[in-house]
Symmetry: C2
Subunit: 237 residues, 2 copies
DNA sequence: TAGACGGATTTGTGATCACATTACTGCGGC
DNA sequence: GCCGCAGTAATGTGATCACAAATCCGTCTA
């Protein structure tokens, strides 16, 4: 068959097996990916910085192959970029691209929040508790002036909320956006010192406990808008 | 430096070079990727079908390495999936995931259309002409009962319109969604025989020539809604 | 002092190989 | 007739190597 495809006839060995990795062990490329991803999300990698396959491989003590896979995966998610020559670098999104990314967040995240509110109706308490913890971490990061910690905690807050929506496809889209904005937002919050941030998370928690999905969506929209405004402000500097 | 990163000091060799491929030549992995991507977009690969690296490599006459890169890239875009054991297959999205994907399209595509209308204000004529051609191809595919051709032409229509928005980040998100819905939609249109499709493209073209971005966005929303309804209907079968 | 040039080094790409693990085939037992 | 099991074939992962191309560095020239 063309392209080496094989059609698994339904009902005849169609079951998805459980081959692969020896139970719990995760492949090397996955470890590399998760490491790089976490550092990008919290903005530990400077926009404009360049990576090398051999460098990544040596740092994480693997061969070039898993490093390649992880880097290419991040490139596919636009979390890393390749120059025309194939050099790897942490992208520095243009102002216009940042605007696009926030526009997408503004469209997608309120929807995700709305779904989370609806899906978590019968288990609001534990969700609220988890979110409250994340919010405390955010406050702590603000007090400490820890921009990287702030970005990480803020991402965790949103991730926890949206996870309740149980919408993996939407979640994947949003996470892809976060990966792209991460490095820049770290820089943004570093520049403005996490000052004067209006707390929309409080409103979000209230809406959630009130079972008001519309209000929750609105709070998240305001939160995203605030981030967009900051990014725009910082981009103008 | 950690993780093998090197920070390119701005102003000191910071220019993005033009290394890499010898001018116009595209890497083997890119060719494999484009081939697989095109086939997924138009639904030439059946949901549930399985691929093998060696099979893909042999089909396109390359070694296993570029095949791996291309496949992993598509996996990152959720256009292909890996079983827990690492087997590669064309995903068969659950009904709930399809609904998510269409919800995302419904949020993102009208926005992209709106931006296209605004950005293409001073060059509407050539855009309209291009879109009209794509629409003719769609009609032809419908007449011929060619489901695969329909999906391809329909995708091309939307892609042409959104390209005018010059919003690469948003475009990447939408294309990622298309890759995920492609195989299923091919199946959907094959099942219902491209019957009884209301033509929202006509309304879109009118709105575009009227410079009415709101009406254009509405037409696109209707178009996406129709696709969502068909998918839901087909999923129920 | 600034710019251009040439060579050494670095880098990504692609190919091939070894290996652990899993999926598949056919056979035997209940 | 159906299920389970052993042996074989196939698959993805990771490592290593060769190579072409581009970046980087020092030097020379105007």
């Amino acid at each position: 068959m063309a392209l080496g495809t094989t059609l698994t006839t339904p009902g005849q060995g169609g079951a998805i097996g459980t081959q692969g990795v020896a139970e719990g062990r995760q492949p090397a490329n996955e470890q590399v990916y998760q490491t790089l991803r976490a550092r990008l999300l919290e903005g530990a990698l400077e926009p404009g910085a360049s990576l090398t396959l051999r460098g990544v491989a040596a740092s994480l003590d693997v061969s070039m192959t898993p490093a390649r896979e992880a880097v290419r995966k991040l490139v596919a998610e636009r979390a890393l970029a390749l120059t025309p020559s194939g050099r790897i670098l942490v992208p520095l999104p243009a102002a216009a691209e940042l605007e696009e990314l926030f526009a997408a967040r503004r469209l997608l995240e309120p929807e995700l929040a709305r779904r989370a509110a609806l899906a978590a109706r019968d288990r609001v308490a534990p969700l609220l508790k988890a979110l409250q913890l994340q919010d405390d971490a955010i406050e702590a990061a603000i007090s400490a002036g820890d921009a990287q910690g702030y970005v990480r905690a803020n991402t965790a807050f949103h991730a926890t909320l949206y996870a309740a929506a149980e919408a993996p496809a939407l979640m994947a889209l949003v996470e892809s956006i976060w990966l792209q904005t991460g490095p820049t937002m770290r820089r943004v919050y570093g520049m403005i010192g996490t000052r004067a941030l209006q707390d929309f998370h409080e409103a979000a928690l209230t809406a959630l406990s009130d079972d008001d999905s519309q209000a929750l969506a609105a709070a998240i929209r305001d939160d995203v808008d605030q981030g967009a405004a900051l990014a725009a402000e910082a981009a103008a500097l």
